[in-house]
């Protein structure tokens, strides 16, 4: 009886309400970086994102421009000929917020394709900049008074908070992956590189270990205690279609293969209150995946094109349950039930039992179905979705900020019917 009643419970529960657009912000250029939201000063949210024409925008929660910074670099005529004028100043990596001058306000840190790294104050004024010899497509990590980011000149740079070089680490290839911090016995800086290597350095730039995958790594590593013990693990996707889980010594724990490249960071979230972390990520096989901490698939949901942006896992309708917000290159934002939904293989006790294979005992003791991805809502935008973030408004409602490659930033909210 327990199996039947549980199954019926799992089948019920269609959600009411809808997702609607609160505002749209239109830039004059293609948006190239994922938007990032942050409380800049107490109670004041800021939304920052970069564009292909080299502008860093800062909006308030109502889409009013607080400031924008336009990259201006002197480039001689000959050098100009080597650049694609439409994309030369592109800001591909999401900006990082951090109070680097201890003024109680958060500064904005980002790099661009001209190889320069910028620190702007909370009013959008340039504090300092740092030059590298390659495009910067890696977001910065701010840790222990250090600013760490990768460059396509194959170096991982560590600067002090005033923009002076502390150390750099030369990798074997370009670094587009953003670094992450792993706090174990030793604090480690973890990042990937374009030739498929995952590196671990100590905080002085000394190599601790490396692990080789077969594809380019552009994703930021996600770090978490996935098994709910004290051990931290590294979860990172590769263009070889696999998601890798490594322990703090760089030893492979498990691997899960999808049918497409994995370009962005995975979300590590406990979706079912078992204290263990599930792994949610998108793939260029068009699917959003939810895996258990041991690497078995809980559910997947297929969109109509690549899922490049990192999904968000939040409770958008404030019902106490988490939803997965995934943007796809098919132009749609999908709001999925984080737990998935239970799909029956058959209805026990109703019909067809006699035709099921196996012993009668199997029917009553094993679950008669499986979990699959469940779409709650879908919102069609005007272009390819490259990133998302959220803010919480004064009514404690969550607003999703969607970055669209074609130059629009949408704010989507949940509304009860």
């Amino acid at each position: 009886m327990g199996v039947i009643s549980d199954t019926l419970k799992k089948l019920s529960g269609k959600k009411l309400g809808k997702i609607e657009k609160k505002w749209v912000f239109d830039t004059s250029s293609s948006i190239s970086s994922s938007p990032i939201t942050e409380e800049i000063t107490k109670g004041q949210a800021g939304i920052a994102f970069g564009t292909q024409d080299g502008k860093m925008y800062m909006l308030d929660a109502d889409a009013q421009i607080k400031w924008f910074y336009s990259i201006q670099e002197k480039i001689d005529e000959v050098q100009q000929m080597f650049l694609d004028e439409e994309t030369a100043k592109s800001i591909y990596a999401a900006p990082t917020f951090a109070d680097i001058n201890k003024d109680g306000k958060k500064e904005v840190l980002f790099g661009c394709d001209l190889g320069k790294f910028y620190a702007l104050n909370s009013s959008g004024k340039l504090l300092w900049k740092f030059k590298t010899d390659g495009e910067i497509r890696s977001s910065a990590l701010v840790q222990d008074n250090m600013i760490i980011f990768g460059s396509n000149d194959q170096n991982l740079y560590a600067l002090n908070l005033k923009g002076k070089l502390l150390w750099k680490f030369k990798a074997d290839s370009e670094i587009e992956s953003s670094p992450a911090i792993l706090k174990a016995k030793k604090t480690q800086v973890i990042f990937g590189s374009n030739n498929g290597k995952i590196y671990s350095l100590d905080t002085k730039g000394k190599l601790l270990w490396q692990f080789k995958t077969k594809g380019k790594i552009t994703a930021k590593p996600a770090i978490g205690a996935i098994y709910a013990n004290n051990k931290k693990y590294i979860v990172i996707g590769s263009a070889d279609n696999n998601i890798y889980v490594l322990d703090e010594n760089g030893k492979l724990e498990w691997i899960y293969e999808t049918e497409g490249r994995i370009c962005s960071e995975a979300c590590l979230v406990d979706i079912n209150n078992d204290k263990k972390l599930e792994i949610i990520f998108g793939s260029c096989d068009d699917n959003v995946y939810c895996l258990s901490c041991s690497g078995s698939k809980i559910w997947s949901y297929e969109t109509n094109f690549w899922v490049v942006a990192t999904p968000l896992v939040i409770d958008i309708d404030n019902d106490g349950k988490l939803e997965v917000i995934a943007g796809s290159y098919d132009s749609s934002v999908y709001v999925l039930d984080a737990e998935g939904t239970f799909l029956l293989d058959y209805m026990p006790g109703v019909s067809g039992i006699a035709q099921q294979p196996g012993h009668y005992n199997e029917l009553v003791t094993s679950e008669p179905g499986k979990y699959v991805g469940k779409k709650l809502w879908q919102y069609k935008t005007e272009g390819m979705i490259i990133g998302s973030a959220f803010i919480t408004n004064s009514k404690k409602q969550k607003e999703i900020i969607i970055g669209i490659k074609e130059g629009k930033l949408d704010n989507l909210t949940y509304k009860k019917d």
Partner: protein, 267 residues
């Protein structure tokens, strides 16, 4: 806007006996591969189009990635082209692009612009290229500027094989798609010279070029009775009712001729 056959303007190849097999020539704005092994007159066929179009008042850009402008012009002189009849502009310094464009603009009628990228490459040091710098961008920027400021109509890239050495093609399918789209967007009638392997096993390096191009002109050597003759044929030409037979290709009395039926060469 979709053009029907009557509205479609065509660019002649200036090969007697061949243009009429293509409804008069190649549709304006198309991207065409000229493929062949070494010595099959790919460069000469492309140069011939730009020379004759310049006589007709149009401007063409010949971008040579390896052969120097000097070598190319010596070859043309020896074939009997009267270069004094056209406005010939040689571009061998990208820092002087503005002056070069001014030369084209000040000329009456059409011009033949030879961009000697080999000479430009010798001048440029790696440090000048910088982050995001790419020789492909140099090519695109030359095309855009010459097209926008000097009303250029035709473009020859000699050759695709040299381009593949000059720029990184990690993902050739995607990169070539965007290059072909760029060439269509700038609305130039384009000839891309493709060096084929000796066994003629493929028309282009990655083979995707065959599908992306609007047309393919195939040049080859064929041995007949211990004599080697050159041959020309159309492999494909979109929006064109064309004869795909193989023709003998001859250059005589300063003109190209195509002879049907694989006849022996003219004597």
């Amino acid at each position: 806007m979709i053009k029907n056959n009557k509205e479609m303007k065509r660019i002649k190849l200036y090969i007697n006996g061949f243009d009429e097999q293509l409804q008069g020539g190649i549709p304006e704005g198309y991207v065409t591969l000229i493929c062949g092994t070494a010595g099959t007159m790919k460069t000469s066929v492309a140069f011939n189009v730009l020379y004759n179009e310049a006589l007709d008042g149009k401007t063409g850009l010949y971008l040579s990635l390896e052969q120097s402008a000097k070598s190319l012009l010596e070859h043309a002189e020896n074939m009997g082209y009267d270069l004094s009849k056209i406005n010939l502009v040689v571009m061998s310094d990208i820092a002087k692009l503005k002056a070069t464009i001014q030369d084209i603009k000040s000329a009456k009628g059409g011009s033949l612009v030879i961009s000697d990228l080999g000479a430009i490459r010798k001048q440029i040091k790696e440090t000048k290229i910088g982050p995001s710098g790419d020789w492909l961008n140099v090519i695109k920027n030359i095309i855009k500027k010459v097209k926008a400021e000097a009303q250029c109509d035709l473009f020859v890239l000699d050759s695709l094989s040299a381009l593949y050495v000059l720029s990184s093609f990690d993902d050739p399918r995607t990169k070539l798609f965007y290059i072909f789209e760029f060439l269509r967007d700038v609305e130039l009638t384009t000839f891309l010279i493709s060096e084929m392997p000796l066994d003629k096993s493929k028309y282009s390096e990655y083979e995707v070029e065959d599908y992306l191009a609007d047309g393919i002109i195939f040049l080859q050597h064929t041995e007949k009775f211990r004599k080697v003759i050159r041959e020309i044929s159309i492999v494909k030409m979109r929006a064109t009712d064309c004869n795909t037979d193989v023709f003998s290709l001859e250059y005589k009395n300063k003109k190209f001729y195509a002879l049907q039926g694989g006849k022996p060469p003219l004597v």
